[in-house]
């Protein structure tokens, strides 16, 4: 990158010549790249290249006998007939449909409660609900795992007090137990997003509403909830992506729950992990990753499209 006119400060007020315009244009282009450059390089290497590589290897198959060969779309057709994969997708779909609404409703309630300015200690409450987000998922899962213990954990203590034999970690309730952990982890995060959009509402609106004799509920319904719609779209998309990528929580719980409770294909991500690192089938796992990415993107896109339509109204 050599510059035609390295340092040619133009005195203020002097008229622009044609040459000057050319130089400025040239310089602007070059400056733009300088700003984008670092990002573009990192983006290419950590985002574009891995995706292209995954796409590339998903067209191959590596066998213990016979080595590596090009198989076209074989991995994909096998994936579409793979019951274990679809059961994993089904599981995270159920998880998403149940856990995301509960978590977001809780987060919205909390945000409204803090914003109502009728509570004491809101600052503490805000920090306290956000804190779980700062705890690494592995640690919080271990912690919940000990709480859930039906013999030595908190659940165990409750059992012995109440004389019940409730086992949260049994295969039937495990998904709900994981949902609880995830909700605990992320409710504060979503609450903050909601709260920040609430705090942008000018106070004059509330005063006007008060003068018009609006009740608290009417204020919530007519002013606050519409304001939260924009952030709802964001939190929904984040949450859907997050729960489709469920991995840490079930993977850590595997060492706590009975051996047969969490299968290696419990979630699509866990399935990919096991295929790749235990089964030596990284090509097939790559195909799985690509398909999962497409599914998640499609869902996120539909959600975004819907919310945009809402906002257009």
């Amino acid at each position: 990158m050599t510059e035609q006119h390295p340092e040619n400060p133009r005195p203020r007020g002097e008229a622009l010549t044609a040459e000057d315009t050319f130089v400025r244009k040239h310089r602007r282009n070059w400056r733009g790249w300088k700003f984008v450059g670092p990002f573009a390089v990192v983006f290419t290497f950590v985002f574009v290249v891995p995706i292209c590589y995954a796409l590339y290897i998903s067209f191959f198959q590596k066998k213990m006998i016979g080595g590596e060969q090009y198989v076209g779309f074989d991995n994909y057709s096998r994936l579409f007939a793979d019951e274990q994969f679809w059961s994993a997708v089904g599981r995270v779909t159920i998880f998403t449909c149940v856990q995301v609404p509960i978590m977001l409703a809780l987060a919205a309630l909390m945000a409204l409660a803090i914003d109502s300015m009728k509570l004491h200690g809101t600052k503490f409450f805000r920090i306290a609900t956000f804190l779980p987000y700062a705890v690494p998922a592995v640690v919080s899962t271990l912690m919940w795992g000990f709480i859930y213990g039906s013999k030595y954990g908190l659940v165990g203590s409750l059992n012995s007090v109440l004389g019940t034999a409730f086992d949260v970690l049994s295969p039937d309730t495990l998904l709900a137990a994981i949902g609880n952990i995830v909700t605990w982890e992320f409710v504060g995060y979503n609450m903050l997003i909601f709260y920040s959009s609430l705090s942008t509402i000018p106070h004059s609106l509330y005063e006007a509403a008060a003068i018009d004799g609006a009740t608290e509920w009417q204020i919530v319904k007519k002013i606050k909830l519409p304001e939260m719609k924009g952030s709802l779209a964001i939190t929904v998309i984040f949450s859907i992506i997050g729960s489709f990528q469920l991995f840490n929580e079930p993977s850590v719980l595997q060492s706590i729950v009975p051996g047969n409770a969490i299968t290696t294909y419990f979630t699509p991500n866990m399935y990919a992990y096991n295929l790749s690192f235990m089964g030596g089938q990284s090509n097939y796992a790559a195909a799985l990753a690509i398909v999962m990415a497409i599914i998640t993107m499609a869902i996120a896109y539909i959600v975004q499209l819907n919310s945009m339509k809402e906002q257009m109204k």
Partner: protein
């Protein structure tokens, strides 16, 4: 905790690739270090005693430096190893590999056949179980480091309380004992198994089963008709159906060691190495625990192996001579005594019949001469057992399939068939000719 280490190892393995690749660059070194040039051997292993062995080895062989890297325990290390092998660089010269994973690496040509160094002459040096695991298709793929013949560790105090006066020697007696122990209270069980490959796959081995046969590219997977496998399924089905086994506690979990400690889990069929670990898991059990041989499924004494590992030379190394020197020292020479003296369970006959080994007592086991029992356990190992060339994967999906039987929704017969179906499918995908 295991998953935690798994994740750390996952991250480490990536780092390892770079650092190991950096070390591998010095290819100008002499192959065996005897010509005066310095050689550095990269050894991957998680066994802490390897460090002591390496120190002693370096003293005798000043030209060879041993660099031990802990790339994670067992499956975590295999993940790193697989990455290095498929990357084509960064693999170590020597790796610690468990017996059940040896076939996987041997048949994919990742390990060197040690016959050229005369390893075949060592066949009488080692006990039958470990030797049969490294001797694959008449080639030797590693030297046995330690072994884990299965034995039954039992809490004598609980057994006595339940009225089981002597340790069960057959499955029939084991079943009767299980009933008596469960009669002590609803949370007392003879053992725990939540559908895991250990103990289940190992009990199949101990039952004399031979469900897997490997002959080059030909595999036979026959869990449904194999006599030993079905014998195991029959007894385990009975124990699970009658609620005599704790099917909710996972091995090595926190609950598991607490229940061992408190006597709720009254016995374990597990590798002999447990003798040096039980006091950690169940410190309050001191003086209460004893060791007996694995109950047999018929009158003939057969046994299985739980764990144990070999030192193998990677076929990609260019320092095979030096590597052989090291593993020969560690697993056949002076290294054996160094490790056995520090409590590792030996894989060689001489150490197992050594009188100081046999007469060793431990107050934890009520001064029982427990090594006598464990030494017999090593003799009884069913040497017809073969591992699948993808046993690491087979075990990883065990709980998905065969392990579902302990949930009570399907029978062991059906569950084992599900495991078989997936193993057959995988085998075919990997290019094997599979017979059922």
């Amino acid at each position: 905790m295991k998953s935690l280490t798994k994740m750390i190892a996952g991250g480490l393995s990536a780092v390892m690739l770079f650092s190991a690749a950096a070390c591998g660059g010095s290819s100008g070194e002499a192959a065996d270090g005897s010509s005066g040039q310095k050689v550095t051997l990269n050894v991957w292993g998680w066994e802490p005693l390897l460090k002591d062995v390496a120190d002693a080895f370096e003293k005798e062989n000043p030209n060879i430096t041993i660099k031990i890297t802990n790339a994670g325990t067992a499956t975590d290390q295999y993940t790193a190893l697989n990455n290095a092998i498929s990357a084509g660089s960064g693999a170590p010269d020597v790796a610690q590999v468990e017996y059940y994973a040896t076939a996987q690496y041997a048949l994919s040509d990742s390990l060197k056949d040690l016959s050229e160094f005369g390893a075949k002459d060592y066949s009488d040096f080692y006990t039958p179980g470990p030797w049969s695991s490294v001797n694959i298709n008449d080639k030797i793929y590693g030297l046995p480091l330690d072994s884990g013949p299965m034995a039954m560790f039992y809490n004598k105090e609980i057994f006595d309380k339940a009225g089981v006066t002597s340790a069960p020697t057959t499955m029939e007696e084991y079943y009767e004992a299980a009933k008596k122990i469960h009669a002590l209270g609803s949370d007392y069980y003879i053992t725990a198994d939540s559908g895991e490959p250990a103990p289940e796959e190992l009990m199949i081995w101990a039952a004399g089963g031979t469900p897997f046969k490997v002959d080059g590219e030909n595999l036979t997977i026959n869990l449904t008709d194999d006599a030993g496998t079905q014998e195991f399924a029959k007894w385990w089905q009975k124990l699970v159906d009658e609620g005599l086994i704790d099917t909710k506690t996972k091995r090595w979990s926190d609950d598991w060691s607490r229940k061992l400690n408190e006597g709720n889990i009254a016995s374990l069929t597990i590798g002999a190495w447990m003798a040096s670990m039980l006091d950690d898991q169940a410190p309050d059990g001191s003086g209460k625990w004893r060791v007996a041989n694995t109950p047999t499924f018929d009158t003939k004494a057969t046994n299985g192996e739980d764990g144990g590992s070999t030192l193998a030379i990677m076929s990609s190394t260019d320092k095979a001579e030096a590597a052989w020197k090291f593993i020969d020292f560690a697993a056949h020479g002076k290294g054996v005594k160094i490790r056995v003296d520090k409590g590792q369970f030996p894989a060689d006959k001489a150490s197992l019949s050594d009188s100081s080994f046999l007469t060793k007592t431990d107050p934890y086991f009520g001064d029982q001469k427990y090594n006598e029992v464990l030494s017999k356990a090593a003799d009884d190992v069913n040497t017809k057992w073969q591992f699948l060339p993808y046993d690491v994967y087979a075990r990883s999906i065990f709980s998905d399939t065969a392990g579902q039987a302990t949930l009570g929704k399907i029978t062991f017969k059906e569950a084992l068939k599900n495991w078989q179906d997936q193993l057959v499918e995988y085998g075919k995908q990997q290019g094997y000719k599979v017979n059922e």
